[in-house]
Amino acid sequence: MAAEADSPRAPFGRRACEVADSRESGGYRIFTLIDAEGPAPAAGQFYMLAAAPDWAGEGGRPYLPRAISYARVTENPKGGVRLDFLIDEVGPGTSRLARMKQGDECFVAGPFGNRFSLPRQLNEGAAGAILVGGGIGIAPMAVLRRELVNRGIPSRSLLGFRDQAHSGGVDELFGCEETRLAFEDGSYGHKGFVTDLLLQLLEGDDSGSAAIYSCGPPAMLEAVRRICADRGLPVELALESPMACGYGACFGCAVPKAEGGYMRLCVDGPVVRGDQIATAMAGEPAVG
C-alpha cells in the first residue's frame, strides 16, 4: 500500500466544526471548516462530513456522512486547522453540504486514509510530478501540488472538466502557470479529455522522469491507470467509493485488488498504486 506510517491520526469520534465560509467557485462550491481539535492532514487523506442540522432530516436523506477529500489546509490562528472542501452538488449529501452557511456546524470525523508518496518514493528516477485531476478530483491534486511546491519539487498539473457548470476551484486552488486545462465541451482550453493532455505530455517527456498522480471520476482514473501501465510508469490514484464509515467498520468500500480479493479503500487507500488494483471503475460514488 502507499505510505501510511506518517499519516496523521484522527481523533476518536466525530466532532462538530464551525463553517467559517462557503463560496461559489465556478459551478462548484468551496466551504471552509474550522477544525480546532484535529491534526493537520496529509495530502490524499479525506474526512467524513455531515451537516449538523438537517442531516437525515426531511425525507430521511442524507443519512450517512460523505467521504470528501480536503482541498486545502491552513493553520487556524486560534489553534487547529482550517480545511477547505470542494463540492459538486450531485446528490442529497453534497447538496446539503453545499447549503451550509457561515456559523453552521458540520460533523467531522478524520482525517482518514493514507497519503500520497513523494515522487522519488514512487519513482526513484523522478525529476518531478505530473498531476492529473478531473472534476472535484482536482482537490487532492491541489493539496499535493502545494506540498510539492513547499518541498521545491517541480510539478505540472493537468485538469479536466465536463463543462463550465461542472468546474471550479482552479484559480483559487491552483492559479499557477504550470496548469493546463481540458474541457470536454471545448468551452476553454483543450477540447476533449484531460488524458489527451497526459498523452501529449508523455510523448514529449522522458517517461522515466515522471511520477504521476491522479484523482477524478472512475472512468478517467482507469484511463490514466492504463496509460501508465502500458508505459510502465508508476502512478498513484486517489480513488472514491461508496463508504459509510471511513474507518474500516462497514466494509462497503471494496476495491478489487490486482491479485484477487478486495481492499477496504478507507483504510488501505484512498491512495493506491495503479498496479495494486484490478480496476479503478468499481467505485462510482452513487450515494452523492
Binding site: 466525530r14 450517512l64 467498520a249 462497514c250
Partner: protein, 313 residues
C-alpha cells in the same frame, strides 16, 4: 447483579452469566475493533465504546466478500450487501483473536456455516479459547442439505441448537432474522434447543434499483436494510420475542442514542446493540452509554434494572 443497582449511573448488568459494565454491545459486523485501533490509536482501547464486543461473523474458510457495489443509502438507513469478508476460522484464531483480547471487555464471537458439521467445528474451536466469553450463531444462511435458511425455520433452528448445545458450557446466542412472519416461533425453538440468549434483529431483506441503469444496484442483487428505518420493526419483534421466551434478548435495530436504546429495554431487551450508527460516529456506543443514566432518570426509573423489569401493557 442488577438488583443491587442503587442509581441510574450504575449500568452494570449481566447477559446469561457474562458480567457487563453496562448494557451496550455492538452489532456483529458494524465495528471492526482492530481496524479502529489502527485508525484512531490506543484511545479505542482505553475508551472502548462498548461493554461487550461482538466480532464480525467468522466462517470456516476465508471469504473475499461480495463484488461491489456493497452499499446503498436509503431514507434513514442503508442497505448493505457485504458478503461476510473475513480471514476464515484459522486466520481469526491465529491473528484476530489475540488482538481482540487486548480490548478490556468480554468477547462474543459470531460464527456462521452452511452445514451443521462446520458449525460444530466453529463452536468447538472458538469455545475452547479462553479469550471468548460467548458465541453468537449467525443463522441467516441456507443449510446446504435442506436448502432452507436455518433462522427462518423453527425446526432447523432447534435442530442446530440441539447439535451445538452439548459442545460448550459457554453462552450460545442465536441471532434472529426479521425476515419471518413469526420471529417468536424461531426464538422459542432456539430456546427449546438450549440457546442462552437471542439477539435481534438482523437486517431486513431489501433491494435498491439504480435509477440510471434501471438494474439492481448492489453487487449481490439485494441486501439488508439497517439504521433508524428499521427501528419500529425491530421494536415490535423484540417485544413479541421477549414476551415469548425467558432467555435474555439482545435488542438492536436503528439505535442512535440513549433514548432509542431505552425503547428497546422497555420492549423487553435485557441489553442492546448499536450497529449502523457506528458508521456515522465511531464513538456512538459510548454516547449511548453516557446518555443512559439521564434517559433512565427522565423516565422516572431508579435504575437500569428497574427499566429491564418493566412489562409494557
Amino acid at each position: 447483579m442488577a438488583e443491587g443497582t442503587a442509581d441510574t449511573s450504575d449500568l452494570s448488568t449481566d447477559l446469561c452469566g457474562i458480567e457487563l459494565a453496562g448494557p451496550v454491545l455492538n452489532g456483529s459486523g458494524t465495528f471492526d475493533a482492530i481496524a479502529a485501533r489502527r485508525v484512531f490509536g490506543d484511545e479505542v482501547v482505553s475508551g472502548f465504546p462498548f461493554d461487550c464486543y461482538v466480532s464480525k461473523t467468522i466462517t470456516m474458510n476465508p471469504r473475499p466478500g461480495n463484488a461491489p457495489y456493497r452499499l446503498w443509502e436509503t431514507p434513514s438507513g442503508m442497505i448493505n450487501s457485504i458478503g461476510l469478508p473475513g480471514p476464515g476460522l484459522d486466520g481469526f484464531l491465529e491473528r484476530d483473536l489475540v488482538q481482540l483480547a487486548e480490548f478490556d471487555v468480554p468477547l462474543i464471537v459470531s460464527v456462521m456455516a452452511d452445514r451443521v458439521e462446520d458449525f460444530e467445528i466453529l463452536v468447538n474451536r472458538v469455545a475452547e479459547r479462553e479469550e471468548v466469553a460467548g458465541i453468537e450463531l449467525n443463522v441467516s444462511c441456507p443449510n446446504v442439505h435442506s436448502g432452507l435458511i436455518v433462522g427462518e425455520q423453527p425446526s432447523e433452528t432447534e435442530a442446530l441448537m440441539k447439535a451445538l448445545r452439548p459442545l460448550t458450557a459457554k453462552p450460545l446466542i442465536v441471532k434472529l432474522t426479521p425476515n419471518v412472519a413469526n420471529p417468536h416461533e424461531v426464538a422459542m425453538a432456539a430456546e427449546s434447543g438450549g440457546a442462552d440468549s437471542v439477539s435481534m434483529i438482523n437486517t431486513v431483506k431489501a433491494a435498491a434499483i439504480d435509477p440510471v441503469s434501471t438494474r439492481t444496484w448492489l453487487g449481490a442483487g439485494a441486501g439488508g436494510l439497517s439504521g433508524p428505518a428499521v427501528r419500529p420493526i425491530a421494536l415490535a419483534q423484540v417485544r413479541s420475542v421477549a414476551s415469548a421466551v425467558s432467555v435474555p434478548v439482545i435488542g438492536m435495530g436503528g439505535i442512535t442514542d440513549a433514548e432509542s436504546a431505552l425503547e428497546f429495554i422497555l420492549a423487553g431487551a435485557r441489553v442492546i446493540a448499536v450497529g449502523t450508527e457506528n458508521f456515522r460516529d465511531p464513538r456512538a456506543g459510548a454516547l449511548v452509554s453516557e446518555g443512559l443514566p439521564a434517559a433512565l432518570a427522565r423516565r422516572g426509573f431508579a435504575s437500569l434494572a428497574e427499566a429491564q423489569s418493566v412489562t409494557l401493557d
